[in-house]
């Protein structure tokens, strides 16, 4: 890939590389797969594209929507799912649907519809990145779009009032968080030791909920009660986005960044190997079943084809 790929994203705050869930998904995937994407943060410039962000520009192709961008990156040989089996690929698709159907509506609601959150956090945060007269209209437009989406997809009989719709959305989202927490168990990522597409999606949807200090926090409180999901977000932030946290300008992966990434991947592979050797050791009969419980959990997490493999 000779020409650089440029990714337009909303900027970050509160220790996040971006405050926008879908931008985070793409940024995380780019980090996981090692794609040399130049991240361009939307600023006060009039010409910055704001409509369908995240937006990937490579040569003369312009791609919007996270799923399509990820497909494009995969075609450029930046594939984070290379080691997954066919069944794990199917699982990825299924869990992404789960996130879209159950968690995304609640995320949209928390950002754009909950009045307290919108006026105290979301609107100032997005308006500060938009030039003068537009900052009066664009956030309102985005909120209108969000409300429209929620009402059309989740409203309708038998839910007649907004309060009922809200209750339903948050109940679904909490259930989804619980399911994800069960699925993750104690393993570092959803499919073992290397991050994949699914991790990018989960991270993108959870990190804003986890980090942004909203005044109304019902979903946040629930997320904080699931320590493994919180740990998951923190790990990705510290391993894959650390330089940004230290205040280096988020213009893109410079050389240090790329080196760090390679190093992390190497370390990950190494730990993968060690884990496998460990596994073999543990399976040998003379070894006391010291870590059997955690091991079992992560095993069932990786696929339930052989849930009883480790039981004595």
């Amino acid at each position: 890939m000779a020409s650089p790929m440029e990714l337009s994203c909303w900027g970050g705050d509160w220790g996040l590389p971006s405050v926008h869930a879908e931008c985070l998904v793409v940024m995380a995937y780019a980090r996981f797969s090692g794609a040399p994407v130049k991240v361009k943060i939307i600023d006060h410039c009039w010409r910055a594209p704001r409509g369908r962000v995240p937006l990937l520009i490579s040569d003369d192709t312009v791609i919007s929507q996270p799923a399509k961008i990820l497909n494009f990156l995969r075609k450029q040989k930046y594939n984070a799912d290379y080691d997954l089996s066919a069944k794990e690929g199917a699982d990825t698709l299924a869990y992404i649907s789960l996130l879209e159907e159950k968690l995304h509506p609640a995320l949209i609601h928390t950002f754009w519809i909950e009045a307290d959150n919108y006026y105290r956090v979301t609107k100032p945060c997005f308006a500060s990145r938009i030039p003068f007269p537009l900052n009066w209209f664009l956030p309102r437009n985005m909120a209108g779009e969000a409300l429209n989406r929620i009402l059309l997809t989740k409203g309708g009989p038998p839910l007649f009032s907004m309060a009922e719709v809200e209750a339903q959305i948050y109940r679904d989202a909490k259930e989804c968080l619980n399911l994800l927490s069960h699925r993750l168990g104690t393993s570092p990522f959803f499919f073992g030791n290397m991050p994949t597409t699914l991790d990018a999606f989960v991270f993108g949807f959870l990190a804003p909920l986890f980090k942004i200090p909203f005044p109304k926090v019902q979903l946040q409180d629930h997320l904080k009660m699931l320590p493994n999901l919180c740990r998951f977000c923190d790990d990705i932030l510290s391993c894959y986005f650390r330089l940004k946290l230290l205040g280096v300008s988020p213009v893109g992966p410079d050389t240090v960044d790329a080196n760090l990434q390679k190093l992390t991947q190497l370390v990950n592979k190494e730990s993968n190997l060690i884990e496998k050797m460990d596994d073999n050791l543990r399976k040998s009969p003379q070894h006391p079943p010291r870590k059997l419980t955690t091991l079992k959990l992560s095993r069932t997490g990786e696929g339930n084809s052989s849930p009883n493999r480790l039981s004595p």
């Binding site: 159907e101 989406r149 059309l152 038998p158 168990g185 339930n304």
Partner: protein, 276 residues
Amino acid sequence: MSLVAEAFVTQIAAAEPWPENAALYQPLRDEQILLSDNAACLAVQAFLQMCNLPFQVVSRPNAEYMSPSGKVPFIHVGNQVVSELGPIVQFVKAKGHSLSDGLDEVQKAEMKAYMELVNNMLLTAELYLQWCDDTTVQEITYPRYGCPYPWPLNHVLAYQKQWEIRRKMKALGWGNKSVDQVLEDVDQCCQALSQRLGTQLYFFNKRPTELDALVFGHIFTILTTQLISDELSEKVKNYSNLIAFCRRIEQHYFEGLNRDGSARLPPPIRRKILRS
């Protein structure tokens, strides 16, 4: 429904056993029902069959307007009315019948995820094809949807429904997708289901769950429904284990029930595809 109301309903539901005269309401099967509604009705029928609960199928032209959520099918049990697969599964569970009790937490998460995959991709694709593809709308959807009503009303109602679905598609970002892209999505979804199923009898090995009922409803309907072109069913036919899976559930849960009319499948001409 508020939490209190829901808890109340659950309690009532638990108090009474499943009656003999439960009824499942759906639109007229031969002349009215649409692809997506048929899939939903078949999924609920399969689910109740798998739970081994007796019920009668009642066809009504206004089933959609009788349903509390405006969606078919709905069941009438004792003095309660519940619509759509999700709530029906909850309701039946409150009565002490469940297909997914044997699963552990991770498997339950997986089952929910795959059910959302079917709803998110297959159901949306079916709705897209029957309400947003202009030839299908003109030749199949309008005549079928409006068939029980007299002249101006049939157009008005069909148009209203189409407007509603198109707005929903736009909100979901499916508004400017092409038919080819939608079929591509269907293919991707079927591939995922096929890979997840593998060579197992059901999605979670030997015992069927609500996921099996849902997948059966959709795949069987797609395979046996005649649309303008065969593109949709061709996509599904590439996956032989899904076809075998549908045949298995059909034989196990629906064979022999056709005569007394308690559970009815499409007429034999359309079912040839499954046999061949």
